[in-house]
């Protein structure tokens, strides 16, 4: 029976990234995927006629350009097209739009408050300062603060150096920033409710926290620290849908000689003599390798795919306590034409932007209250995009695909499984909210796919359908991600590695966990490193 150098479990974007870098280093790598399609949540699927749905992840900004470049993803068909701005519709018929042109953006803010328009500069600089701080550590393994290894000490010194380099006042600000709520953070700059509501969305997306919960300021940062072509904070669409990212990574992996197997779900990661020996597939097949890399989330890897007896007791308990709560749903809609939003001028660039429908901080927090009560938000925060406004490949000409990301949507309804009636009601609630601002919207609907966290969990495999593979809170970030002592992509058993978004620097289509894991594996195997360095922001 053939022995591989490494098995990567899960063909999501991180699994494929690790696989590609290992294959590039000359390893014989097989990447196994339970579904009959690749991508995990980085996927586009043809679920209705000629419409392509990015039915999980739908926008792209965090994908590290260093990875894009070194794997030559453009040669494997990837194109990221930025989209401009965003808009928040207001109950009074007005709207707040954000624009690419800074002067237009200024005028729009000044329409609500000259104070806020002027304050935006320092808000932007302060947020960017935090971005610069964190961006530098995305493509590197977090140091173990308890270790005295030269590598850890060096990295700790680098983080410390950058931190100290901010100066006294800004060091205090940074500590506050990393622990405060997005609402408090925004209150320090702005007075206009709709502007704060518009900005606060980034603090809760994918997170089982409300805008007033401590730690949500960091989540805002997580959505700001990406860039499209150097425009930090900018977001784009992958041409051909999000799945194009996975396809390009798979292309790079296969071009490097890697083997991809779909419909090959892993039942168990096999451990022999305290070391991994391969994987047993659901279909009974076994694959042998001394290195197994799990791209699955932290909980699924250890609670579902390993025997408890193979794992240290305290480690196991920590896995059980890992915070990975389902809080977001998705409604994907095929449209017969472009819905009109009468609040917007005809032909407005905001039709290309992402759209939101909550105009106050009060409503933002209320949306979270529903989640805490074990149900979906009745007045939900929706991040709505119409990718076909810029992507000609996802629907026939003149037709459109609408993606509604919905916050909040619980994994279980009051602790039990969703019923199909509840799922329909959830979808209806989302459609109703959009329809409040677009009278012709409902008439244009051809097909709707409703996805609760439970659907995402059962289909993609992510525990509770948590889009980040684990909450992005301070206790689960940097050297604490996923848990203290295991932040360097190595599992508790020899030969076992973790490369999914449960690891530093977390979720979103960043591919950094996958790249960082590959670097560590290659180092352990004493192979030349194929993973690129950070470009640097100096």
């Amino acid at each position: 029976m053939k022995t591989y150098d490494a098995i990567v479990v899960g063909a999501g974007h991180n699994g494929l990234t690790t696989a590609a870098y290992l294959a590039k280093a000359g390893l014989d790598v097989v990447c196994v995927e339970k579904n009959d399609y690749i991508g995990g949540a980085t996927v586009s699927r043809n679920l209705y006629k000629d419409w392509l749905y990015s039915n999980c992840s739908y926008v792209c900004s965090l994908l590290r350009p260093e990875i894009y470049r070194s794997l030559e993803l453009h040669k494997h068909g990837l194109q990221i097209t930025p989209f401009g701005g965003s808009v928040t519709f207001m109950e009074n018929g007005d709207f707040y739009g954000s624009y690419h042109d800074p002067e237009v953006a200024y005028r729009e803010m000044a329409h609500f408050s000259r104070h806020d328009a002027d304050a935006y500069k320092s808000y932007s600089a302060d947020t960017m300062r935090q971005c610069r701080f964190i961006r530098d550590f995305l493509l590197s393994t977090p140091p173990d603060p308890t270790s005295f290894k030269p590598k850890d000490l060096k990295e700790l010194a680098r983080i410390g150096g950058k931190f100290m380099g901010m100066g006294e006042d800004r060091m205090y600000e940074t500590i506050r920033f990393w622990t405060m709520s997005v609402a408090e953070y925004l209150d320090e700059y702005f007075e206009t409710d709709v502007i704060k509501a518009a900005f606060s969305g980034s603090g809760i997306i994918g997170t089982a926290l409300g805008i007033h919960s401590p730690g949500t300021a960091y989540v805002l940062l997580h959505h700001y620290m990406g860039d499209v072509d150097g425009n930090v904070g900018s977001w784009g669409f992958a041409r051909g849908g999000t799945g194009a990212v996975a396809d390009a990574l798979a292309g790079a992996f296969q071009a490097a000689g890697g083997e991809l197997r779909t419909e090959a779900g892993v039942d168990k990661i096999v451990v022999k003599n305290g070391k991994v020996a391969g994987v047993a597939l659901d279909n009974g097949d076994e694959i042998i390798a001394n290195v197994v890399v799990s791209a699955m989330d932290f909980k699924r890897t250890f609670l579902t795919c390993m025997d408890k007896s193979d794992l240290p007791e305290k480690f196991y308990r920590r896995v059980e306590n890992f915070k990975i709560r389902g809080s977001s749903g998705k409604v994907n809609i095929a449209l017969d034409g472009l819905p009109t939003f009468p609040a917007l001028p005809e032909g407005s660039s905001l039709y290309h932007s992402d759209m939101h429908f909550i105009d106050s901080m009060e409503r933002m927090e209320r949306a979270y209250d529903d989640w805490k009560d074990g149900t979906w938000s009745k007045d939900p925060y929706i991040d709505m995009t119409i990718p076909t406004m810029s992507d000609p490949t996802m629907a026939p000409p003149g037709k459109h695909y609408m993606s509604c990301f919905v916050q909040y949507c619980p994994h279980k309804i009051e602790g039990r499984d969703w019923t199909s009636e509840e799922k329909e009601a959830f979808g209806k609630c989302v459609i109703d909210q959009v329809a409040n601002y677009s009278p012709d919207f409902k008439d244009l609907i051809l097909h709707v796919e409703i996805r609760t966290p439970q659907d995402i969990e059962s289909e993609i495999g992510i525990t509770e359908g948590n889009i980040f593979h684990g909450e992005l809170t301070m206790d689960q970030l940097l050297f604490n991600r996923p848990i203290p002592g295991y932040a360097q992509y190595r599992g508790p058993i020899g030969g076992l590695y973790m490369c999914g978004s449960s690891n530093h620097p977390g979720g979103g289509i960043m591919a950094a966990p996958g790249a960082n894991a590959a670097r560590e594996i290659l180092s352990d195997l004493k192979r030349p490193n194929t993973v690129p360095e950070n470009f640097g922001d100096d």
Binding site: T81, H100, S349, P392, G536
Partner: protein, 399 residues
């Protein structure tokens, strides 16, 4: 005595100006051969991505155009340019370069073989004096027709869909560097599958009186295919990714240079493939043959540069005996949004700059008032940075 009207004062407007002006939101224009031409119309980034993602429309009416006809047209062109024009059949277009007797480039351009024995030369500069001088002894007529032809570049992955939608039947049969004639509201519309972007794309040529009708028909046909008008900035970014030369940037027309050594030969611009020494005679042949034997002084290089800081105006260095020696400079540099690569074109002294060579570029960049300097490693590449399969697809895809 009649008093003559003074020549036109100020900037000229192209036949498409009324439509472009309407779309303009930023009021940022430059002068191009006397005409007003937009740098950008709304946002450089959006306009660039129209080229790479949907359909971009660029007004290239100010391009200099000459009609060359007569029994000796082919012989004349074959003496003028370095490539073999006999191979360019009617209905085909050829990229060409022409030189002085010393083999130094006067200009590059495209030659359209419109019909048997009838050509259009399209280029950046005005060369009537040279073209006429070069015609002595040939039975040809050279007509300046810049103002007589309005032209649009229609570039991007949905451009075929747009033009098909406009009713251009048989366009699917048009190969890269092919041209075809269509009837457009009683006028002749010439469409060539050419461009400056290395993407799927076409160029449309029509009499100025039909320009606005053409624009309207094109935009109507393209409204469901993401059609957008663009300015020069976005186009320039695309052409650097394609590795195409820009006159006055990658080379100067030799007849305008003052200092010695500021001109370039086709061999020095990576255009060896355009120089056909099998032809018995063409302007500059002897000098170029000698250069081919003895080696060139300069070499145009395409650089893939480490890091993400664009190498504008950088010096290029090579390592020699442990020291870095300056060997040339960057002429065009940009961060490529489509390749996520830091790319540049430059000119270096031979023998440096062979494909695969490592060189260094000295990059100066400003961050919050302060200037920084980086010495970035770069690799010389021989292929265009961007050259997707869809550019040459037969038949072209819908997107």
């Amino acid at each position: 005595m009649t008093i003559r009207e003074p020549v036109h004062q100020g900037r000229l407007k192209t036949p498409f100006y009324p439509r472009i002006e309407k779309l303009d939101t930023v009021n940022q224009w430059h002068e191009w051969k006397g005409y007003s031409s937009p740098d950008l119309l709304y946002c450089e980034e959006t306009e660039y991505f129209a080229i790479r993602n949907s359909t971009a429309v660029f007004d290239l009416s100010p391009m200099t155009k000459y009609r060359i006809t007569g029994p000796d047209a082919l012989d004349y062109l074959n003496r003028l340019v370095t490539r073999d024009m006999a191979k360019v059949k009617p209905g085909r277009v050829a990229y060409a370069v022409w030189c002085d007797d010393q083999g130094q480039v006067i200009d590059d351009g495209t030659i359209f073989h419109l019909r048997e024995g009838e050509y259009r030369l399209c280029c950046q500069e005005r060369h009537f004096a040279w073209l006429r001088a070069a015609s002595i002894g040939f039975d040809v007529t050279i007509t300046h027709e810049t103002e007589d032809v309005a032209a649009l570049a229609v570039q991007g992955p949905t451009s075929f869909s747009v033009l098909s939608n406009m009713g251009l039947e048989g366009l699917d049969q048009l190969k890269p560097f092919g041209l075809a004639h269509f009837d457009f509201q009683g006028a002749e519309l010439m469409v060539s599958r050419t461009g400056y972007t290395a993407d799927l794309g076409y160029e449309l040529w029509i009499e100025p009186s039909k320009a606005l009708e053409l624009w309207d028909a094109l935009f109507e046909a393209g409204k469901l295919h993401g059609i957008r008008a663009i300015g020069t900035h976005a186009l320039d970014l695309a052409r650097i990714e394609a590795g195409y030369l820009a006159p006055y940037t990658e080379f100067l027309p030799v007849d305008e240079t003052i200092r010695t050594g500021r001109s370039r030969s086709p061999l020095e611009l990576g255009l060896d493939w355009l120089v056909d020494f099998k032809k018995p005679n063409f302007n500059g042949r002897r000098a170029l043959a000698e250069e081919k034997r003895n080696g060139s002084t300069w070499r145009l290089v395409k650089l893939d540069i480490d890091g993400n800081k664009a190498a504008h105006n950088s010096y290029i260095f090579a390592k020699e005996k442990g020291n870095k020696k300056q060997i040339g400079f960057v002429t065009s540099a940009v961060w490529s949004p489509i390749c996520k690569q830091n790319i540049a074109l430059g000119t270096v002294r031979t023998p440096h700059g062979k494909p695969g060579d490592t060189v260094w570029v000295e990059i100066y960049y400003q961050r919050e008032m302060h200037w920084n300097r980086a010495m970035a490693k770069a690799t010389v590449v021989d292929k265009p940075f961007w050259f997707p399969p869809r550019r040459g697809a037969m038949p072209p895809g819908p997107y």
